[in-house]
Protein backbone atom coordinates (compact mmCIF):
# COMPACT_ATOMS: atom_id res chain seq x y z
CA UNK A 1 0.00 0.00 0.00
CA UNK A 2 2.86 2.31 0.86
CA UNK A 3 4.61 1.58 -2.41
CA UNK A 4 1.33 2.18 -4.26
CA UNK A 5 0.93 5.60 -2.64
CA UNK A 6 4.50 6.56 -3.52
CA UNK A 7 4.08 5.35 -7.10
CA UNK A 8 0.75 7.12 -7.53
CA UNK A 9 2.18 10.37 -6.17
CA UNK A 10 5.10 9.96 -8.54
CA UNK A 11 2.86 9.29 -11.55
CA UNK A 12 0.63 12.28 -10.79
CA UNK A 13 3.67 14.47 -10.32
CA UNK A 14 5.14 13.33 -13.65
CA UNK A 15 1.81 14.15 -15.32
CA UNK A 16 1.78 17.61 -13.81
CA UNK A 17 5.34 18.46 -14.86
CA UNK A 18 4.97 17.00 -18.34
CA UNK A 19 4.29 19.52 -21.14
CA UNK A 20 2.43 16.79 -23.04
CA UNK A 21 -0.31 16.88 -20.39
CA UNK A 22 -0.93 20.57 -20.94
CA UNK A 23 -0.88 20.27 -24.71
CA UNK A 24 -3.36 17.39 -24.53
CA UNK A 25 -5.56 19.34 -22.11
CA UNK A 26 -5.56 22.42 -24.33
CA UNK A 27 -6.45 20.44 -27.43
CA UNK A 28 -9.14 18.53 -25.56
CA UNK A 29 -10.76 21.71 -24.29
CA UNK A 30 -10.48 23.24 -27.76
CA UNK A 31 -12.28 20.33 -29.41
CA UNK A 32 -14.91 20.10 -26.70
CA UNK A 33 -15.36 23.87 -26.83
CA UNK A 34 -16.13 23.71 -30.54
CA UNK A 35 -18.52 20.86 -29.95
CA UNK A 36 -20.26 22.81 -27.22
CA UNK A 37 -20.47 25.95 -29.34
CA UNK A 38 -21.92 23.87 -32.19
CA UNK A 39 -24.59 22.45 -29.89
CA UNK A 40 -25.51 25.91 -28.65
CA UNK A 41 -25.86 27.14 -32.24
CA UNK A 42 -28.31 24.38 -33.14
CA UNK A 43 -30.26 25.10 -29.96
CA UNK A 44 -30.31 28.81 -30.82
CA UNK A 45 -31.44 28.18 -34.42
CA UNK A 46 -34.43 26.00 -33.64
CA UNK A 47 -36.14 24.63 -30.54
CA UNK A 48 -34.81 21.19 -29.58
CA UNK A 49 -35.82 18.41 -27.30
CA UNK A 50 -33.75 17.88 -24.20
CA UNK A 51 -31.08 20.13 -22.75
CA UNK A 52 -27.75 21.15 -24.28
CA UNK A 53 -26.03 19.20 -21.50
CA UNK A 54 -27.68 15.95 -22.58
CA UNK A 55 -26.58 16.44 -26.19
CA UNK A 56 -23.09 17.44 -25.05
CA UNK A 57 -22.64 14.21 -23.12
CA UNK A 58 -24.01 12.27 -26.11
CA UNK A 59 -20.73 13.17 -27.78
CA UNK A 60 -18.62 11.73 -24.97
CA UNK A 61 -17.11 9.22 -27.42
CA UNK A 62 -15.10 11.88 -29.27
CA UNK A 63 -12.66 12.42 -26.40
CA UNK A 64 -12.90 8.80 -25.30
CA UNK A 65 -11.68 7.47 -28.65
CA UNK A 66 -8.82 9.91 -28.94
CA UNK A 67 -7.87 11.04 -25.45
CA UNK A 68 -7.95 7.72 -23.63
CA UNK A 69 -5.51 5.96 -25.98
CA UNK A 70 -3.24 9.01 -25.91
CA UNK A 71 -3.33 9.23 -22.12
CA UNK A 72 -2.68 5.57 -21.46
CA UNK A 73 -0.61 4.24 -24.35
CA UNK A 74 2.65 5.45 -22.85
CA UNK A 75 2.15 4.15 -19.33
CA UNK A 76 3.39 0.56 -19.35
CA UNK A 77 4.64 0.23 -22.91
CA UNK A 78 7.21 2.97 -22.34
CA UNK A 79 8.39 1.44 -19.05
CA UNK A 80 8.97 -1.83 -20.77
CA UNK A 81 10.63 -0.35 -23.82
CA UNK A 82 13.09 1.64 -21.71
CA UNK A 83 13.63 -1.32 -19.39
CA UNK A 84 12.71 0.76 -16.33
CA UNK A 85 10.12 -1.88 -15.49
CA UNK A 86 13.05 -4.06 -14.47
CA UNK A 87 14.46 -1.45 -12.08
CA UNK A 88 10.98 -0.86 -10.69
CA UNK A 89 10.23 -4.53 -10.16
CA UNK A 90 13.55 -5.22 -8.48
CA UNK A 91 12.70 -2.60 -5.87
CA UNK A 92 10.21 -3.85 -3.27
CA UNK A 93 7.26 -3.16 -5.59
CA UNK A 94 4.73 -5.58 -7.04
CA UNK A 95 3.20 -5.61 -10.53
CA UNK A 96 -0.35 -4.83 -9.28
CA UNK A 97 0.97 -1.76 -7.46
CA UNK A 98 2.59 -0.46 -10.62
CA UNK A 99 -0.42 -1.14 -12.85
CA UNK A 100 -2.88 0.35 -10.35
CA UNK A 101 -0.74 3.45 -9.86
CA UNK A 102 -0.64 3.96 -13.63
CA UNK A 103 -4.38 3.42 -13.86
CA UNK A 104 -5.34 5.85 -11.11
CA UNK A 105 -2.97 8.52 -12.40
CA UNK A 106 -4.44 8.27 -15.91
CA UNK A 107 -7.96 8.17 -14.49
CA UNK A 108 -7.31 11.26 -12.39
CA UNK A 109 -6.13 13.11 -15.48
CA UNK A 110 -9.16 11.91 -17.45
CA UNK A 111 -11.49 13.20 -14.71
CA UNK A 112 -9.54 16.43 -14.47
CA UNK A 113 -9.92 17.08 -18.19
CA UNK A 114 -13.64 16.44 -18.07
CA UNK A 115 -14.01 18.59 -14.97
CA UNK A 116 -12.60 21.48 -17.00
CA UNK A 117 -15.56 21.24 -19.38
CA UNK A 118 -17.75 22.21 -16.43
CA UNK A 119 -16.49 25.70 -17.19
CA UNK A 120 -18.48 25.69 -20.45
CA UNK A 121 -21.77 25.40 -18.58
CA UNK A 122 -20.70 28.06 -16.12
CA UNK A 123 -19.79 30.45 -18.96
CA UNK A 124 -23.09 29.70 -20.73
CA UNK A 125 -25.02 30.44 -17.56
CA UNK A 126 -23.03 33.62 -16.94
CA UNK A 127 -23.56 35.03 -20.44
CA UNK A 128 -27.18 33.96 -20.80
CA UNK A 129 -27.99 36.06 -17.76
CA UNK A 130 -30.74 33.67 -16.78
CA UNK A 131 -32.22 34.45 -13.42
CA UNK A 132 -32.52 30.83 -12.36
CA UNK A 133 -29.49 28.53 -12.23
CA UNK A 134 -28.80 25.97 -14.96
CA UNK A 135 -30.59 22.67 -14.87
CA UNK A 136 -28.18 20.75 -12.66
CA UNK A 137 -29.74 17.30 -12.87
CA UNK A 138 -28.53 16.29 -16.37
CA UNK A 139 -25.16 17.85 -15.58
CA UNK A 140 -24.65 15.81 -12.44
CA UNK A 141 -25.93 12.68 -14.20
CA UNK A 142 -23.68 13.30 -17.17
CA UNK A 143 -20.56 13.82 -15.11
CA UNK A 144 -21.42 10.81 -13.00
CA UNK A 145 -21.64 8.77 -16.20
CA UNK A 146 -18.27 10.13 -17.32
CA UNK A 147 -16.70 9.21 -13.97
CA UNK A 148 -18.16 5.71 -13.85
CA UNK A 149 -17.63 4.78 -17.50
CA UNK A 150 -14.16 6.38 -17.41
CA UNK A 151 -12.89 3.61 -15.12
CA UNK A 152 -13.57 1.04 -17.83
CA UNK A 153 -12.26 3.16 -20.70
CA UNK A 154 -9.02 4.03 -18.91
CA UNK A 155 -8.58 0.45 -17.69
CA UNK A 156 -8.87 -0.76 -21.29
CA UNK A 157 -6.20 1.75 -22.29
CA UNK A 158 -3.92 0.47 -19.53
CA UNK A 159 -4.57 -3.12 -20.61
CA UNK A 160 -3.58 -2.27 -24.19
CA UNK A 161 -0.42 -0.62 -22.93
CA UNK A 162 0.44 -3.67 -20.84
CA UNK A 163 0.33 -5.94 -23.85
CA UNK A 164 3.01 -4.34 -25.99
CA UNK A 165 6.23 -2.41 -25.74
CA UNK A 166 5.32 -0.25 -28.71
CA UNK A 167 3.37 2.88 -27.86
CA UNK A 168 1.76 3.14 -31.27
CA UNK A 169 0.50 -0.44 -31.11
CA UNK A 170 -0.81 0.20 -27.60
CA UNK A 171 -2.63 3.32 -28.80
CA UNK A 172 -4.23 1.63 -31.79
CA UNK A 173 -5.17 -1.41 -29.73
CA UNK A 174 -6.83 0.80 -27.12
CA UNK A 175 -8.67 2.68 -29.87
CA UNK A 176 -9.96 -0.53 -31.45
CA UNK A 177 -11.05 -2.00 -28.11
CA UNK A 178 -12.89 1.20 -27.17
CA UNK A 179 -14.50 1.36 -30.60
CA UNK A 180 -15.69 -2.21 -30.23
CA UNK A 181 -17.04 -1.47 -26.77
CA UNK A 182 -18.92 1.72 -27.62
CA UNK A 183 -19.89 1.41 -31.29
CA UNK A 184 -19.52 -2.35 -31.76
CA UNK A 185 -22.19 -3.20 -29.20
CA UNK A 186 -24.53 -0.74 -30.91
CA UNK A 187 -24.07 -2.44 -34.27
CA UNK A 188 -24.42 -5.88 -32.73
CA UNK A 189 -27.77 -4.86 -31.26
CA UNK A 190 -29.11 -4.08 -34.75
CA UNK A 191 -28.16 -7.49 -36.17
CA UNK A 192 -31.12 -9.40 -37.63
CA UNK A 193 -29.86 -12.63 -36.09
CA UNK A 194 -30.50 -11.35 -32.60
CA UNK A 195 -34.20 -10.88 -33.40
CA UNK A 196 -34.68 -14.66 -33.43
CA UNK A 197 -36.71 -15.84 -30.48
CA UNK A 198 -34.26 -18.35 -29.08
CA UNK A 199 -31.54 -15.67 -28.99
CA UNK A 200 -33.61 -13.42 -26.74
CA UNK A 201 -31.18 -13.93 -23.87
CA UNK A 202 -28.26 -12.85 -25.99
CA UNK A 203 -30.20 -9.81 -27.19
CA UNK A 204 -30.92 -8.82 -23.62
CA UNK A 205 -27.23 -9.15 -22.81
CA UNK A 206 -26.20 -6.99 -25.77
CA UNK A 207 -28.81 -4.38 -24.85
CA UNK A 208 -27.45 -4.36 -21.35
CA UNK A 209 -23.98 -3.55 -22.75
CA UNK A 210 -25.17 -0.44 -24.66
CA UNK A 211 -22.98 2.40 -23.47
CA UNK A 212 -25.33 4.97 -25.02
CA UNK A 213 -28.30 3.54 -23.14
CA UNK A 214 -26.35 3.88 -19.91
CA UNK A 215 -25.62 7.49 -20.76
CA UNK A 216 -29.31 8.24 -21.38
CA UNK A 217 -30.22 6.68 -18.06
CA UNK A 218 -27.60 8.64 -16.20
CA UNK A 219 -28.53 12.00 -17.76
CA UNK A 220 -32.19 11.33 -16.95
CA UNK A 221 -31.08 10.87 -13.37
CA UNK A 222 -31.49 7.08 -13.30
CA UNK A 223 -28.47 5.48 -11.65
CA UNK A 224 -28.79 1.76 -12.19
CA UNK A 225 -26.46 -0.19 -9.92
CA UNK A 226 -26.28 -2.91 -12.56
CA UNK A 227 -24.69 -0.43 -14.94
CA UNK A 228 -22.31 0.85 -12.29
CA UNK A 229 -21.39 -2.73 -11.52
CA UNK A 230 -20.84 -3.39 -15.23
CA UNK A 231 -18.26 -0.62 -15.49
CA UNK A 232 -16.55 -1.38 -12.21
CA UNK A 233 -16.32 -5.11 -12.79
CA UNK A 234 -15.25 -4.50 -16.39
CA UNK A 235 -12.45 -2.23 -15.30
CA UNK A 236 -11.40 -4.68 -12.60
CA UNK A 237 -11.24 -7.39 -15.25
CA UNK A 238 -9.24 -5.21 -17.64
CA UNK A 239 -6.79 -4.30 -14.87
CA UNK A 240 -6.37 -7.90 -13.78
CA UNK A 241 -5.70 -8.88 -17.39
CA UNK A 242 -3.24 -6.00 -17.60
CA UNK A 243 -1.38 -7.20 -14.51
CA UNK A 244 -1.33 -10.74 -15.87
CA UNK A 245 -0.14 -9.37 -19.21
CA UNK A 246 2.83 -7.64 -17.60
CA UNK A 247 3.71 -10.73 -15.60
CA UNK A 248 3.28 -13.08 -18.53
CA UNK A 249 5.63 -10.94 -20.58
CA UNK A 250 8.20 -11.29 -17.81
CA UNK A 251 7.79 -15.04 -17.64
CA UNK A 252 8.25 -15.46 -21.36
CA UNK A 253 10.70 -12.66 -21.98
Amino acid sequence: MRAFRILLAHELRMLLVSPATYIAATLFLLVMGFVFAGILETFAAAPQEGSPAAVFFQLFWIPVFFMVPLLTMKSLAEERRLGTLETLLTAPVTTPQIVLAKFFAAYALYLGLWACTGGFFYILHWFSGAAQGPDLAPLIGGYLFIAVSGTLFVAIGILASALTRNQAVAGILAFVLLLALVIGTRFTATLEVLKLDHLAGLRAAVDYLQVFTHLEDFTRGVVDTRQVLYYLSGSALALILGILGVEAKLLHS
Binding site: L82, T90, S253
Partner: protein
Protein backbone atom coordinates in the same frame (compact mmCIF):
# COMPACT_ATOMS: atom_id res chain seq x y z
CA UNK B 1 11.74 -10.07 10.02
CA UNK B 2 9.99 -12.67 7.96
CA UNK B 3 9.75 -16.35 8.69
CA UNK B 4 12.09 -17.11 5.87
CA UNK B 5 14.75 -14.84 7.29
CA UNK B 6 14.56 -16.24 10.78
CA UNK B 7 14.43 -19.81 9.53
CA UNK B 8 18.19 -19.86 9.05
CA UNK B 9 19.91 -20.17 12.40
CA UNK B 10 22.29 -17.24 12.11
CA UNK B 11 21.73 -15.03 9.07
CA UNK B 12 24.90 -13.06 9.77
CA UNK B 13 27.14 -16.06 9.21
CA UNK B 14 25.18 -17.58 6.33
CA UNK B 15 26.44 -17.03 2.80
CA UNK B 16 25.06 -14.01 1.00
CA UNK B 17 24.11 -16.04 -2.05
CA UNK B 18 23.59 -19.77 -2.48
CA UNK B 19 22.73 -21.02 -5.95
CA UNK B 20 22.10 -24.70 -6.50
CA UNK B 21 21.57 -26.39 -9.86
CA UNK B 22 20.01 -23.31 -11.37
CA UNK B 23 18.39 -23.96 -14.74
CA UNK B 24 16.60 -21.43 -16.91
CA UNK B 25 15.18 -22.15 -20.33
CA UNK B 26 13.59 -19.60 -22.61
CA UNK B 27 10.92 -21.36 -24.67
CA UNK B 28 12.89 -24.59 -24.64
CA UNK B 29 16.19 -22.88 -25.35
CA UNK B 30 18.49 -23.32 -22.35
CA UNK B 31 20.20 -20.13 -21.14
CA UNK B 32 21.48 -21.40 -17.80
CA UNK B 33 22.09 -25.11 -17.37
CA UNK B 34 22.87 -26.19 -13.86
CA UNK B 35 24.81 -23.34 -12.27
CA UNK B 36 25.83 -23.74 -8.63
CA UNK B 37 27.88 -21.36 -6.54
CA UNK B 38 28.08 -19.67 -3.18
CA UNK B 39 29.10 -16.16 -2.26
CA UNK B 40 30.22 -15.36 1.28
CA UNK B 41 29.12 -12.16 2.98
CA UNK B 42 31.31 -9.16 2.31
CA UNK B 43 32.88 -10.76 -0.75
CA UNK B 44 33.28 -8.93 -4.04
CA UNK B 45 32.73 -11.44 -6.77
CA UNK B 46 32.95 -11.09 -10.51
CA UNK B 47 30.82 -12.99 -12.96
CA UNK B 48 32.62 -13.44 -16.24
CA UNK B 49 31.48 -14.88 -19.48
CA UNK B 50 31.18 -14.24 -23.18
CA UNK B 51 28.02 -12.68 -24.55
CA UNK B 52 25.06 -15.00 -24.20
CA UNK B 53 26.75 -17.11 -21.53
CA UNK B 54 23.84 -16.65 -19.13
CA UNK B 55 25.30 -13.93 -16.89
CA UNK B 56 22.39 -11.52 -17.06
CA UNK B 57 19.86 -14.31 -16.78
CA UNK B 58 21.57 -15.61 -13.63
CA UNK B 59 21.61 -12.14 -12.10
CA UNK B 60 17.97 -11.50 -12.97
CA UNK B 61 16.98 -14.74 -11.29
CA UNK B 62 18.99 -13.75 -8.23
CA UNK B 63 17.01 -10.51 -7.97
CA UNK B 64 13.68 -12.30 -8.23
CA UNK B 65 12.85 -10.48 -11.45
CA UNK B 66 12.79 -13.69 -13.47
CA UNK B 67 11.63 -17.03 -12.13
CA UNK B 68 14.02 -19.96 -12.50
CA UNK B 69 12.98 -23.05 -14.43
CA UNK B 70 14.46 -25.25 -11.73
CA UNK B 71 17.05 -25.10 -8.99
CA UNK B 72 17.25 -23.21 -5.75
CA UNK B 73 18.45 -19.67 -5.13
CA UNK B 74 18.86 -18.22 -1.65
CA UNK B 75 19.83 -14.61 -1.08
CA UNK B 76 20.81 -13.58 2.46
CA UNK B 77 19.10 -16.68 3.78
CA UNK B 78 15.84 -15.96 1.95
CA UNK B 79 14.57 -18.28 -0.77
CA UNK B 80 14.05 -16.16 -3.89
CA UNK B 81 11.32 -18.30 -5.45
CA UNK B 82 9.26 -18.50 -2.26
CA UNK B 83 9.70 -14.95 -1.08
CA UNK B 84 10.72 -12.58 -3.87
CA UNK B 85 9.41 -9.45 -2.17
CA UNK B 86 11.52 -10.15 0.90
CA UNK B 87 14.60 -10.61 -1.28
CA UNK B 88 13.99 -7.30 -3.04
CA UNK B 89 14.41 -5.41 0.23
CA UNK B 90 17.84 -6.95 0.69
CA UNK B 91 19.52 -6.12 -2.54
CA UNK B 92 20.40 -3.24 -4.75
CA UNK B 93 20.35 -4.10 -8.42
CA UNK B 94 21.60 -2.29 -11.45
CA UNK B 95 20.30 -3.96 -14.62
CA UNK B 96 22.20 -4.37 -17.84
CA UNK B 97 22.33 -1.13 -19.86
CA UNK B 98 21.14 0.68 -16.75
CA UNK B 99 17.64 1.74 -17.79
CA UNK B 100 16.59 5.07 -16.27
CA UNK B 101 13.53 7.26 -16.79
CA UNK B 102 14.50 9.96 -19.27
CA UNK B 103 12.33 12.76 -17.96
CA UNK B 104 13.23 12.92 -14.28
CA UNK B 105 15.91 14.88 -12.48
CA UNK B 106 18.70 12.92 -10.81
CA UNK B 107 17.74 14.06 -7.31
CA UNK B 108 14.06 13.32 -7.91
CA UNK B 109 14.78 9.88 -9.26
CA UNK B 110 17.01 8.90 -6.37
CA UNK B 111 14.45 10.29 -3.96
CA UNK B 112 11.71 8.17 -5.54
CA UNK B 113 13.91 5.09 -5.47
CA UNK B 114 14.80 5.66 -1.85
CA UNK B 115 11.15 6.02 -0.90
CA UNK B 116 10.24 2.89 -2.84
CA UNK B 117 12.99 0.99 -1.09
CA UNK B 118 11.41 1.82 2.22
CA UNK B 119 13.55 4.69 3.50
CA UNK B 120 11.64 7.25 5.52
CA UNK B 121 11.87 10.88 4.43
CA UNK B 122 13.93 11.74 7.49
CA UNK B 123 16.49 9.01 6.82
CA UNK B 124 16.48 9.53 3.09
CA UNK B 125 17.60 13.16 3.00
CA UNK B 126 21.04 12.66 4.64
CA UNK B 127 21.55 9.34 2.86
CA UNK B 128 20.79 10.98 -0.47
CA UNK B 129 23.43 13.64 0.17
CA UNK B 130 25.89 10.93 1.13
CA UNK B 131 25.26 8.84 -1.97
CA UNK B 132 25.36 11.86 -4.27
CA UNK B 133 28.72 12.75 -2.77
CA UNK B 134 29.98 9.16 -2.97
CA UNK B 135 29.06 8.83 -6.63
CA UNK B 136 30.18 12.35 -7.44
CA UNK B 137 26.77 13.38 -8.72
CA UNK B 138 26.67 16.78 -7.00
CA UNK B 139 27.04 18.72 -10.22
CA UNK B 140 24.21 16.96 -12.01
CA UNK B 141 21.78 16.53 -9.14
CA UNK B 142 19.26 18.91 -10.71
CA UNK B 143 19.81 17.85 -14.29
CA UNK B 144 17.37 15.76 -16.33
CA UNK B 145 18.58 12.17 -16.58
CA UNK B 146 17.86 11.96 -20.31
CA UNK B 147 20.42 14.67 -20.95
CA UNK B 148 23.25 13.17 -18.90
CA UNK B 149 26.36 11.61 -20.38
CA UNK B 150 26.80 7.86 -20.22
CA UNK B 151 29.23 8.09 -17.31
CA UNK B 152 26.83 10.08 -15.18
CA UNK B 153 23.92 7.81 -16.06
CA UNK B 154 25.99 4.85 -14.98
CA UNK B 155 26.78 6.56 -11.71
CA UNK B 156 23.10 7.31 -11.14
CA UNK B 157 22.46 3.57 -11.53
CA UNK B 158 25.18 2.73 -9.03
CA UNK B 159 23.90 5.39 -6.62
CA UNK B 160 20.46 3.81 -6.87
CA UNK B 161 21.88 0.34 -6.17
CA UNK B 162 23.70 1.39 -2.99
CA UNK B 163 21.07 3.91 -1.86
CA UNK B 164 19.22 1.82 0.70
CA UNK B 165 22.46 0.23 1.97
CA UNK B 166 21.35 -3.30 1.15
CA UNK B 167 23.56 -6.19 2.29
CA UNK B 168 23.90 -7.37 -1.31
CA UNK B 169 24.56 -5.36 -4.45
CA UNK B 170 24.23 -6.85 -7.90
CA UNK B 171 25.45 -4.89 -10.89
CA UNK B 172 25.20 -6.09 -14.45
CA UNK B 173 28.11 -4.65 -16.43
CA UNK B 174 28.58 -1.51 -14.34
CA UNK B 175 31.53 -0.17 -16.33
CA UNK B 176 30.28 -0.73 -19.84
CA UNK B 177 30.67 2.35 -22.02
CA UNK B 178 32.72 4.34 -19.55
CA UNK B 179 36.00 6.12 -20.25
CA UNK B 180 39.15 5.03 -18.34
CA UNK B 181 38.78 7.77 -15.72
CA UNK B 182 35.22 6.82 -15.02
CA UNK B 183 36.13 3.14 -14.92
CA UNK B 184 38.71 3.96 -12.26
CA UNK B 185 36.14 5.94 -10.31
CA UNK B 186 33.64 3.09 -10.45
CA UNK B 187 36.34 0.65 -9.44
CA UNK B 188 37.23 2.77 -6.43
CA UNK B 189 33.59 3.07 -5.55
CA UNK B 190 33.13 -0.69 -5.62
CA UNK B 191 36.31 -1.19 -3.61
CA UNK B 192 35.02 1.26 -1.02
CA UNK B 193 32.05 -1.07 -0.46
CA UNK B 194 34.38 -3.92 0.42
CA UNK B 195 33.59 -5.44 3.79
CA UNK B 196 30.35 -3.52 4.20
CA UNK B 197 28.34 -5.09 1.41
CA UNK B 198 28.50 -8.18 -0.71
CA UNK B 199 28.98 -7.15 -4.31
CA UNK B 200 28.32 -9.28 -7.36
CA UNK B 201 29.27 -7.70 -10.66
CA UNK B 202 29.21 -9.12 -14.13
CA UNK B 203 31.49 -7.98 -16.87
CA UNK B 204 33.39 -9.04 -19.87
CA UNK B 205 36.00 -6.37 -19.28
CA UNK B 206 38.56 -8.54 -17.58
CA UNK B 207 41.09 -6.13 -16.06
CA UNK B 208 38.16 -4.61 -14.19
CA UNK B 209 37.23 -7.83 -12.52
CA UNK B 210 40.84 -8.73 -11.87
CA UNK B 211 41.52 -5.57 -9.91
CA UNK B 212 38.27 -5.30 -7.98
CA UNK B 213 37.12 -8.79 -7.27
CA UNK B 214 38.14 -11.21 -4.56
CA UNK B 215 36.87 -14.10 -6.56
CA UNK B 216 35.92 -14.76 -10.14
CA UNK B 217 33.25 -17.01 -11.52
CA UNK B 218 33.59 -17.83 -15.19
CA UNK B 219 30.39 -18.85 -16.96
CA UNK B 220 30.18 -20.20 -20.44
CA UNK B 221 27.18 -21.60 -22.27
CA UNK B 222 25.11 -21.60 -19.14
CA UNK B 223 27.61 -23.46 -16.97
CA UNK B 224 30.23 -22.47 -14.41
CA UNK B 225 33.53 -23.42 -16.01
CA UNK B 226 35.93 -22.04 -13.42
CA UNK B 227 35.85 -20.33 -10.07
CA UNK B 228 38.49 -18.95 -7.74
CA UNK B 229 40.67 -15.91 -7.06
CA UNK B 230 42.32 -14.54 -10.22
CA UNK B 231 45.74 -15.76 -9.03
CA UNK B 232 44.42 -19.23 -8.28
CA UNK B 233 42.78 -19.45 -11.66
CA UNK B 234 45.99 -18.50 -13.35
CA UNK B 235 47.85 -21.21 -11.49
CA UNK B 236 45.19 -23.79 -12.12
CA UNK B 237 45.10 -23.12 -15.81
CA UNK B 238 48.74 -22.48 -16.58
CA UNK B 239 50.75 -23.89 -13.68
CA UNK B 240 54.08 -22.27 -12.88
CA UNK B 241 55.50 -23.21 -16.16
CA UNK B 242 56.13 -20.13 -18.32
CA UNK B 243 59.33 -18.14 -18.05
CA UNK B 244 60.72 -15.19 -19.95
CA UNK B 245 64.45 -14.65 -20.05
CA UNK B 246 66.59 -11.98 -21.66
CA UNK B 247 70.24 -12.83 -22.09
CA UNK B 248 73.25 -12.56 -24.37
CA UNK B 249 75.69 -15.34 -25.06
CA UNK B 250 76.14 -18.53 -27.11
CA UNK B 251 72.61 -19.67 -27.83
CA UNK B 252 73.63 -23.19 -28.82
CA UNK B 253 74.53 -23.97 -25.19
CA UNK B 254 71.15 -23.01 -23.88
CA UNK B 255 69.31 -26.35 -24.36
CA UNK B 256 71.98 -28.19 -22.43
CA UNK B 257 71.90 -25.61 -19.63
CA UNK B 258 68.15 -25.87 -19.44
CA UNK B 259 68.24 -29.67 -19.29
CA UNK B 260 70.49 -29.38 -16.22
CA UNK B 261 67.87 -27.27 -14.45
CA UNK B 262 64.84 -29.46 -15.17
CA UNK B 263 64.57 -32.24 -17.76
CA UNK B 264 61.13 -31.11 -18.91
CA UNK B 265 62.08 -27.50 -19.55
CA UNK B 266 61.64 -26.58 -23.20
CA UNK B 267 62.56 -23.54 -25.26
CA UNK B 268 59.46 -22.21 -26.98
CA UNK B 269 60.66 -19.20 -28.87
CA UNK B 270 63.71 -17.04 -29.36
CA UNK B 271 63.53 -13.44 -30.46
CA UNK B 272 66.12 -11.87 -32.76
CA UNK B 273 68.97 -10.20 -30.92
CA UNK B 274 68.52 -6.52 -30.16
CA UNK B 275 71.19 -3.82 -30.64
CA UNK B 276 72.95 -4.78 -27.41
CA UNK B 277 73.02 -8.47 -28.46
CA UNK B 278 70.36 -9.66 -26.05
CA UNK B 279 67.70 -12.14 -27.06
CA UNK B 280 64.41 -12.81 -25.35
CA UNK B 281 63.58 -16.46 -24.72
CA UNK B 282 60.31 -18.05 -23.73
CA UNK B 283 60.44 -21.32 -21.83
CA UNK B 284 57.81 -23.74 -20.67
CA UNK B 285 58.03 -26.29 -17.91
CA UNK B 286 55.62 -29.18 -17.28
CA UNK B 287 52.63 -28.31 -15.12
CA UNK B 288 53.92 -30.36 -12.19
CA UNK B 289 57.34 -28.69 -12.12
CA UNK B 290 58.14 -26.47 -9.12
CA UNK B 291 59.05 -22.80 -9.39
CA UNK B 292 62.30 -22.86 -11.36
CA UNK B 293 63.25 -19.18 -11.30
CA UNK B 294 66.01 -19.47 -8.72
CA UNK B 295 67.49 -22.55 -10.37
CA UNK B 296 67.45 -20.81 -13.72
CA UNK B 297 69.29 -17.77 -12.40
CA UNK B 298 71.94 -20.02 -10.90
CA UNK B 299 72.35 -22.15 -13.99
CA UNK B 300 72.53 -19.29 -16.47
CA UNK B 301 74.56 -16.79 -14.50
CA UNK B 302 77.13 -19.36 -13.41
CA UNK B 303 80.40 -19.56 -15.24
CA UNK B 304 79.98 -16.32 -17.13
CA UNK B 305 78.88 -17.95 -20.38
CA UNK B 306 75.69 -15.94 -20.52
CA UNK B 307 74.98 -12.39 -19.55
CA UNK B 308 71.56 -12.52 -17.91
CA UNK B 309 69.57 -9.29 -18.01
CA UNK B 310 66.09 -10.30 -16.92
CA UNK B 311 64.22 -13.37 -15.82
CA UNK B 312 60.61 -13.68 -14.87
CA UNK B 313 57.63 -15.92 -14.82
CA UNK B 314 55.25 -14.75 -17.47
CA UNK B 315 52.06 -13.40 -15.97
CA UNK B 316 48.98 -14.63 -17.62
CA UNK B 317 46.26 -12.13 -17.74
CA UNK B 318 42.81 -13.09 -16.65
CA UNK B 319 41.99 -12.74 -20.30
CA UNK B 320 44.07 -15.79 -21.13
CA UNK B 321 42.51 -17.68 -18.25
CA UNK B 322 39.13 -16.68 -19.55
CA UNK B 323 39.92 -17.78 -23.08
CA UNK B 324 41.35 -21.04 -21.83
CA UNK B 325 38.38 -21.70 -19.57
CA UNK B 326 35.77 -20.95 -22.20
CA UNK B 327 37.64 -22.80 -24.93
CA UNK B 328 38.26 -25.93 -22.92
CA UNK B 329 34.61 -26.01 -22.20
CA UNK B 330 33.65 -25.70 -25.83
CA UNK B 331 36.08 -28.42 -26.81
CA UNK B 332 34.80 -30.53 -23.94
CA UNK B 333 31.25 -30.02 -25.09
CA UNK B 334 32.19 -31.01 -28.62
CA UNK B 335 33.98 -34.14 -27.54
CA UNK B 336 31.04 -35.05 -25.33
CA UNK B 337 28.71 -34.73 -28.25
CA UNK B 338 30.91 -37.06 -30.22
CA UNK B 339 30.97 -39.63 -27.43
CA UNK B 340 27.25 -39.35 -26.87
CA UNK B 341 26.99 -42.59 -24.94
CA UNK B 342 29.15 -41.38 -22.06
CA UNK B 343 27.47 -42.55 -18.88
CA UNK B 344 28.68 -39.89 -16.47
CA UNK B 345 28.39 -36.31 -17.50
CA UNK B 346 30.96 -34.13 -15.77
CA UNK B 347 29.54 -32.14 -12.90
CA UNK B 348 28.74 -28.60 -14.01
CA UNK B 349 30.94 -26.88 -11.47
CA UNK B 350 33.96 -29.10 -11.94
CA UNK B 351 37.19 -27.63 -13.21
CA UNK B 352 38.12 -28.30 -16.76
CA UNK B 353 41.50 -29.89 -17.23
CA UNK B 354 44.19 -27.21 -17.24
CA UNK B 355 45.45 -26.51 -20.70
CA UNK B 356 49.11 -27.48 -20.90
Amino acid sequence: MSDAATATSSPAASPAIVVRDLVKTYAGHPAVRGVSFEVAQGEIIGLLGPNGAGKSTTLRILTGFLPATSGQVTVCGVDVAANPSEVKTRLGYMPENNPLPEDMRVGEYLHLRGRLKGLTRRKLAPRLDEVVHLCDLGRVRDRIIGKLSKGYRQRVGIADAILAEPPLIIMDEPTIGLDPHQILAVRDLISSLRGRMTVLISSHILPEIEVTCDRVLIINQGRVVATGAPAELRRDFFGHGHYEIELAGPLEHIPAALADVHPGLALVSTSPADSAGFVALRLTAPADAPDLREALVHALARGGRFRLRALGRSRHTLEEVFLAATQTREQGARSREQGAEMSTAPSPSSFPAPRS
